[in-house]
């Protein structure tokens, strides 16, 4: 078990080094950073001085190692547009994105699993068929369109929910949360639905398909032959067996949720990392882009690692194969 975790952790580090190389190379291919920082009337001598002070004349390898060592200490350089350390900018924006992504994922899991289980067990009911139809919409409609439709309905027409921003936030040290104020919660509703809808339909369809599959297995038939209650069979025996693929998909999707948050954050002007990234792209703010890339990769890699470990908790068979590696 420990060896397995270690092995996966080493793989994760290798992935992060590869991503680091890509992030670093962005600096070299996305224009001259000195030009981004200075105004038109800066003299050539001044430019050379800046270049020297930033260490841009050093060999590439030296620069990469420096970048890497700094990145390990969460020093991602100074943003070209804000003239502030990128790490501070990200730190300020991260709570908004993480709260949004977490809410969206929880929403997607709770409703996705409930609807999936229901539509598997009551396959022929009207509601199950309605869920199937809705899930088609959820899968095929693009995120920004859903966001705009929601804004049109609930903000413009009905005026129930704010159309943009995070509402009031409460600060805990550097973490700012919108979960403790009414306006913060209200502002969270529509972005969470917009961001989570796709995952929800995905989870629902997955749970439904898996559940139907599991209900046909011999051990469910045997559980019925043992006279267990319907509830114990459905929620004890069947649901647990559908969870392994659901954990994988939800876990991997959490990374995509954060990445896709770019669109949702743009639609709702949500002050998170995604919005920061979009602004950075528009202004060729390479330090932010590179740092964002590293952050998102780190989240992806971490989630993958956690998912791998979670498997072994749910499925004892994997524990056996892992402790006896082939």
């Amino acid at each position: 078990m420990l060896a397995f975790t270690l092995r996966r952790a080493i793989q994760a580090v290798a992935v992060m080094i590869a991503v680091g190389i890509i992030a670093f190379s962005m600096f070299r291919f996305a224009g001259d950073p000195v030009n981004q920082m200075v105004s038109i009337d800066t003299s050539a001598a001044q430019r050379a001085a800046i270049r020297e002070s930033l260490g841009l004349n050093d060999p590439v390898l030296v620069q990469f190692v420096r970048y890497f060592v700094n990145a390990l200490q969460f020093k991602f350089g100074i943003s070209y547009q804000f003239r502030l350390p990128v790490a501070d900018l990200l730190k300020e924006r991260m709570p908004a994105t993480l709260e949004l992504a977490t809410c969206a994922t929880i929403l997607a899991m709770v409703f996705g699993i409930l609807m999936g289980v229901y539509s598997a067990l009551r396959r022929d009911s009207f509601l199950a068929k309605a869920f199937q139809a809705i899930s088609l919409i959820g899968i095929s409609l693009p995120t920004f369109l859903i966001g705009i439709l929601l804004i049109y309905l609930f903000s413009v027409t009905l005026g129930w929910l704010p159309s943009f921003g995070r509402g009031e936030v409460v600060k805990f040290g550097w973490w700012s949360t919108g979960l403790l104020t009414i306006s913060g919660l209200k502002a969270l509703i529509m972005p969470s639905i917009t961001l989570g809808l796709f995952q929800m339909t995905l989870i629902m369809r997955l749970v439904r398909a898996e559940m139907l599959e599991v209900m046909r297995t011999d051990y469910i038939r045997f559980a019925r032959a043992r006279g267990l209650t319907t509830r114990a069979i459905h929620f004890g025996h069947a649901l647990k067996n559908t969870l392994v693929p659901v954990i994988t998909v939800t876990g991997l999707q959490f990374g995509s949720v954060i990445a896709f948050a770019i669109i949702t954050e743009t639609v709702f002007q949500w002050p998170g990392m995604g919005l920061l990234f979009v602004q950075a792209v528009q202004n060729v703010d390479v330090p932010i882009m590179a740092a964002y890339l590293l952050m998102v990769s780190l989240i992806f890699v971490t989630i993958n690692l956690v998912v791998d470990i979670l498997y072994t908790i749910v499925d004892p068979r994997l524990r056996a194969t892992i402790s006896r590696p082939a």
Binding site: D218, A225, R226, G227, H237, P316
Partner: protein
């Protein structure tokens, strides 16, 4: 004469398809008394397993019991509400399935599965149920049960898993066990052990056993009586020695003739020509008539009803005295 543990009368099971209802079981009747092992044998698709499923109330839609009645120690169980039937399953009727590798939920410890079943049917505390589970595992021959109880199914071999399945089937001391091909998926050496175990449990607890199989060897070793099924009907039923030594029904004769013997003289095995009819194309009269050497006109129009011949009963016009008189 005590009441039989299981009494099935004129059972009919239908599977509804888009166009018409297919009759998988058509007029099956038999009894099993306390401590008796009844073998049910026949080709694939003869309706052996469906009969077992009908008795325990696990016919899934589109199938349904279309007629007849099933009584468990006198109580009619074929028309019970689902919740009542659920309480009988596992408590008064235990079932053993064919494949022990897939019968157990892979994500739960076997002890948890046994305790869960015990506590569903008997009001025992967690500790008492666990103690009982250990005793059950010991009874079905699992070594070091107090250790093995915390194992997961994948940590057991096929034969050991079938023992666990049997422990699950008997955990509430049922009156009847339905064993649906319990040895088909096992090694021959393990088969004998499992058969001996089922036999012993039936004797020790006075449990009636309905043993569904297509293995005549298993039938000969285990059963007191045997029912030969063909196309959803019982062709012949009787004490196992009689049916094996002197089968009456032409199909049963063919079946017994197809068993190779180790000691027997060097004769060719009998082969029954043709195949069992599909459910959608069962011929009128006796379903066996197209394959039967002895078939005559009546077999093609009139369906034979079971006739008593000593301890055996056979559904064949050849044994109807009237007809032989008329023919003579």
């Amino acid at each position: 004469m005590t009441e039989p543990v299981l009494s099935v009368r004129n059972l009919q099971v239908e599977f509804k398809t888009r166009r018409h209802a297919l009759r998988a079981i058509d007029g099956v009747s038999f009894d099993i008394t306390k401590g008796e092992v009844l073998g049910v044998v026949g080709e694939s698709g003869a309706g052996k397993s469906v009969t077992g499923s009908a008795v325990i109330g696990l016919i899934d839609p589109p199938g349904r019991i279309a007629g007849g009645e099933i009584r468990l120690s006198g109580l009619r169980i074929d028309n019970l509400p689902p919740e009542e039937m659920r309480k009988i399953r596992g408590k008064r009727i235990g079932m053993i399935f064919q494949d022990p590798l897939t019968s157990l939920n892979p994500l739960y410890r076997i002890g948890d599965q046994i305790v869960e079943t015990i506590r569903t049917h008997l009001s025992l505390s967690e500790q008492a149920a666990r103690k009982r589970a250990i005793d059950l595992l010991a009874e079905v021959g699992i070594p070091a049960p107090e250790k093995r109880i915390d194992g997961y199914p994948h940590e057991f071999s096929g034969g050991m898993r079938q023992r666990v399945v049997i422990a699950l089937a008997i955990c509430a001391e049922p009156e009847l066990i339905i064993a649906d091909e319990p040895t088909t998926a096992l090694d021959v050496s393990v088969q004998a052990q499992i058969i001996a175990l089922i036999r012993r449990l039936g004797r020790d607890h006075g449990t009636a056993v309905m043993l569904v199989t297509h293995d005549m060897g298993v039938i000969a070793e285990t059963c007191d009586r045997v029912a030969v099924m063909y196309s959803g009907r019982i062709a012949e039923i009787g004490p196992v020695q009689d049916v094996i030594k002197s089968p009456l029904h032409p199909y049963a004769k063919g079946l017994m003739g197809a068993i190779p013997t180790l000691t027997g003289e060097d004769h060719r095995l009998v082969q029954i020509p043709g195949a069992m009819p599909r459910l959608s194309a069962i011929p009128p009269g006796c379903p066996f008539n197209p394959r039967c050497d002895a078939a005559f006109d009546r077999c093609r129009v009139e369906r034979p009803e079971p006739l008593a011949r000593g301890a055996q009963a056979v559904a064949c016009h050849l044994y109807d005295i009237k007809v032989t008189d008329n023919a003579a």
